[in-house]
């Protein structure tokens, strides 16, 4: 066992460099764990709003609003993320005429991919509420949009948090796929160190796995706290 090699490269896994050099441009060339966390953070942010839009559009009664959302959700849910990344990577020059950086491509893919799953969660969350809620809101004189915003969504969002957490944890794990396009993040540093220190593969990958485990654990525990806070009134009712 060569744990000294794995731990000796810990700063490389974390920061992507062996010297503590923080002078990297914020988005375009981040490194190591920092890049993974940035990818996950912006991915979650984008996926939340994209999924919210897709889920609400999907529930619309107008076909020209509903059909695009249904297509988006069904197609994305039926394809592997890796395929989406490659597709996006080669599609971009065809559409906009120039190559996108790998970092931007993968971040966009994480948003689009998780957005579809979040869309389904939003739909399920809203459908799970009693129908009378909407009817009552409408009867008090709120418009459909107002009722959604003031009555339905606040309740639905609270119930959706556990599903969101699952989805966002899997997005965090999916950020490892950025390594395949060559983005220098946690997995890529692992591949680099593995190529250099071939005797210590076992220790290197266990260490990387533990780092991912740590990120996911922190995310889960914070979300649990958020969930407890948001459902404190609900808990009292029961």
């Amino acid at each position: 066992m060569h744990w000294d090699i794995a731990f000796g490269n810990l700063d490389y896994f974390l920061y992507g460099t062996t010297s503590f050099d923080w002078h990297f441009p914020f988005i375009h060339n981040p490194e190591g764990l920092v890049a993974s966390v940035i990818l996950a953070f912006f991915g979650i942010f984008g996926a939340f709003w994209l999924g919210m839009a897709a889920g609400l559009m999907r529930m619309s009664k107008r076909w020209w609003v509903k059909i695009p959302a249904v297509c988006y959700i069904e197609v994305i849910r039926g394809m592997p993320l890796l395929l989406l990344i490659f597709w996006f990577y080669y599609l971009a020059p065809v559409i906009i005429g120039q190559n996108l950086p790998a970092f931007t491509t993968t971040m966009g893919c994480f948003m689009i991919f998780t957005g579809a799953y979040v869309g389904e969660i939003v739909r399920a969350g809203v459908k799970a509420l009693p129908k009378g809620q909407m009817e009552a809101a409408r009867s008090t004189g709120l418009s459909h949009v107002q009722a959604m915003k003031l009555v339905i969504l606040p309740q639905a969002l609270r119930n959706m948090i556990p599903s969101f957490v699952n989805q966002f944890v899997s997005l965090t794990k999916d950020t490892s796929l950025a390594a395949i396009l060559g983005v220098i993040e946690l997995t890529r540093t692992g591949i680099q160190v593995d190529n250099r220190e071939t005797v210590a593969s076992f220790e290197i990958w266990i260490t990387i796995a533990c780092l991912y485990f740590l990120i996911c654990y922190i995310l889960t525990s914070y979300s649990r706290r958020l969930e407890a806070q948001l459902s404190r009134y609900q808990a009292r009712d029961r």
Partner: protein
Amino acid sequence: MDYTFHWARMFSGEPAQWMWEGFCTTMQISTISLVCAMILGIIICVMRMTPFKPFQWFSLAFTEFFRNTPLLIQIFFWYNGAHVIIPDAINSWMNDLYSWFPGEFSLFGHHFVGEWMLLNVELIMGIIALTVYTSAFIAEEIRAGIFSIPKNQLEASRAVGLSFLQGYRYVILPQALRIVIPPLISQALNLIKNSSLVMVLGVTDLMYQATQIESYHAMPFEAFTVALLIYLAISLVVSFCITMYNKHFMIQVMY
């Protein structure tokens, strides 16, 4: 947008043949992994349920670790690092697989020609990674299904004289497995989609063949679109079939 599409070239000659081979490999990997993952998932889940504490700790650690680390990392771990914990005899057997399964061989009276299934260490490690990763999820889902069955069912089975394992085998699992069919559908679909990741080891699955066509024939857009349509078709067919199966079962359950 000055990109000329060559759809016709995708459906003939080398690209079509590669895509077909990739499709077969993907289906083989997915099927084998799914069967193994179901078995391993049930074992892990039952271990979690036993009153014997070390089994509980082991299965808890197993599920938490494999669910919270990325599949890509696990694939790299199994392929690059796991030979340390695998006995030497098995390692050398896996490295010699090419001589065991050449391009042309006879098995059970059947004569196989061509790359029927390219059994090699990459493929085995890919299958192991997919199996272990999926089994952790399956174990959690079956556990949720078992929790939805009243606890006195097990107590009743013990009272009738069945042992703990028999109680699970004949009373709890048959009911729980029906309840967990819908979440297992999505696990099966996830597995098929996740199987695209084994291309990083050089397993010639659908995704690998698409990148192959991209680099040999310079048709990235067509190749990935066809791969997308194939994955989409697989997903739709599998979910349709299992939904039908599920409906068939549900009728029997409603006594």
